[in-house]
Symmetry: C2
Subunit: 324 residues, 2 copies
């Protein structure tokens, strides 16, 4: 029997999950839950019912796992524990410093369900690579580079600057830094020495461009300490050239074995669509959540807790025969 | 209490495990087992006793896991089941087509022990990447490139050619093919379109060099169908310039989500020492074998069956806090 999947939250991520579920041979989309008026939503998949989020309780018998597609700041802290008390869940909670507290709340809620938290690619696949490579090369250094890609957080930060109407920010890994790491040279690099930030900014009419540029450059945490390029463009140019959501990055572990032999491990992603890829990882994790739950392994879990084969629709013997 | 590790087989791989165990904060090397006369072995670690392989039975109480460092052709098919009946084991069985049969024999032997088979990097880490990336991007293609590195199998094949005294063969990934795959172009490529083979050959005195070159180029399976470069060198040159054991490679999954968005996943290794890196992966797997065994999860397991955190000496909460 197919795994019956629900989606909570129908933004870019929710739409990505809908597409990923439609490609999964062992899954069917059973319901979409939304905070919006259900009649206002038009899905890509015909015939799937939409419910208000607070109707979730009465869907319990018909859904094997809900993929939570809300944001980490406001949606998940409330929705997560509420839904995990009733359903197996998967989410992409990505507020790094708050993960232990969120894990604990989800673990308390998921008494007879399985809740996989913080899946996606970072946290998620990148975390798996950091963990795996550190276990293999204990004597070494980690490096994470992000981009080339759009950072929503940085784009929003620019939109908050006085005189800015709209903006898109690209995080760009510095090739010289990537090459130095890849060579096994083990350089010491700050985040600002690893990335530059390229900003496409639509100013309000008559705004002081020099002042906008200076405000962006000096913004603490977001831009201070980074090489920052500000390009002013029209709203039309922004919509035409910068509406995509590419992203990616590199995780490196460079270490030494036997006192002298350099060993370099690298994991890289180059993504045309960040939300669709994140959704694809979450959908694979949904399969694992259902399987763990059927085995009675309840509570909050992370990508560190899942045997890899649980992510695949293919049976273990075939995986071993074809991929090992 | 430290994990007490035994090593069976003290060649390059066994020596690599010895080094890896010495770097592991939670492990100690307790014994080395060898087919050779124990008094003939000088270990890198002072004070560790060496035993004959057939004495293994009486060491049962003092060893938590034995890392099997023998070869797949002759050693492991016999040693594996024999030792797995008494000890938790880890091996790097890499005869791909024979893995299912070996798994089954090891599973039968490991009735109250845990035997992780086919660890290392291929099979091993590369297998994990193929499996993980296929689960995330079901609509896509896999590509595995090997090298730049020394292939023992191909080097041995050349050594079997009439008139050859010694040889080292490097498998070299073709950069144009790697770039085409990395771009997401999804090319169709044979193994020969992905790699070239560079051979450093020491001829016997007076041997027919043209005939040697032709015999190598035409060797079915090993060289036929590949761009093959043969370079004749002296024994001194071979020892001076080609005694290392570098290796590495790339695993790609390139796929599409949502009908049009290209997504590229890449995992790469660049290794100065193939045996030391393989040993490092096996040592991390030894930790997982002991942990699974303590939980009563017996039988033959693969890298697909292990939660990643079981590979690390760091506790789960710290992993989640620092690496997720």
């Amino acid at each position: 029997m197919s795994i019956r999947v629900g989606i909570a939250g129908y933004g870019n991520l929710g739409k990505g999950v809908e597409l990923a579920v439609s490609r999964a041979p062992d899954m069917e989309l059973t319901a979409v839950l939304s905070r919006r008026n259900p009649t206002a939503l038009t899905l890509q998949t015909p015939g799937v019912p939409v419910y208000a989020l607070d109707e979730a309780g009465r869907l319990k018998a018909g859904i094997d796992v809900i993929i939570l597609c809300g944001g980490s700041a406001k949606d998940l802290p409330a929705q997560g524990p509420q839904l995990a008390a009733m359903f197996n869940t998967v989410d992409s909670f990505d507020a790094h410093t708050d993960i232990p507290a969120y894990l604990s709340k989800m673990d308390t809620a998921a008494t007879d369900t399985t809740a996989i938290i913080s899946s996606g690619w970072d946290p998620g696949l990148f975390s798996m690579m950091r963990m795996l490579s550190g276990a293999v090369l204990p004597d070494g250094n980690d490096y994470t580079f992000w981009g080339y890609g759009v950072s929503q957080g940085h784009s929003n930060a620019i939109r908050g600057v006085e005189g800015v109407r709209d903006a898109v920010q690209y995080t760009v890994p510095l090739e010289a830094a990537v090459s130095a790491v890849r060579s096994g040279a083990n350089p010491s690099l700050t985040a600002g020495q690893k990335h530059l930030r390229e900003c496409f900014v639509v100013p309000e009419e008559g705004a002081d461009l020099a002042k906008i540029e200076e405000s962006i450059r000096q913004m603490p945490y977001y831009f201070a300490g980074y090489e920052t390029i500000v390009r002013f463009v029209s709203q039309e140019e922004l919509l035409r050239g910068h509406a995509g959501m590419p992203h990616g990055g590199h995780v490196f572990r460079t270490g030494v074995t036997g006192g002298e032999h350099k060993q370099v491990m690298e994991f890289s992603l180059k993504l045309d669509s960040n939300p669709e890829f994140t959704a694809s990882v979450m959908t694979a994790c949904a399969r694992a959540a259902v399987r763990l739950s059927r085995e009675g392994v309840f509570g909050a879990k992370t990508v560190f807790d899942i045997p890899l084969s649980y992510l695949s629709p293919t049976d273990r013997n075939t995986l071993i025969k074809e991929l090992l």
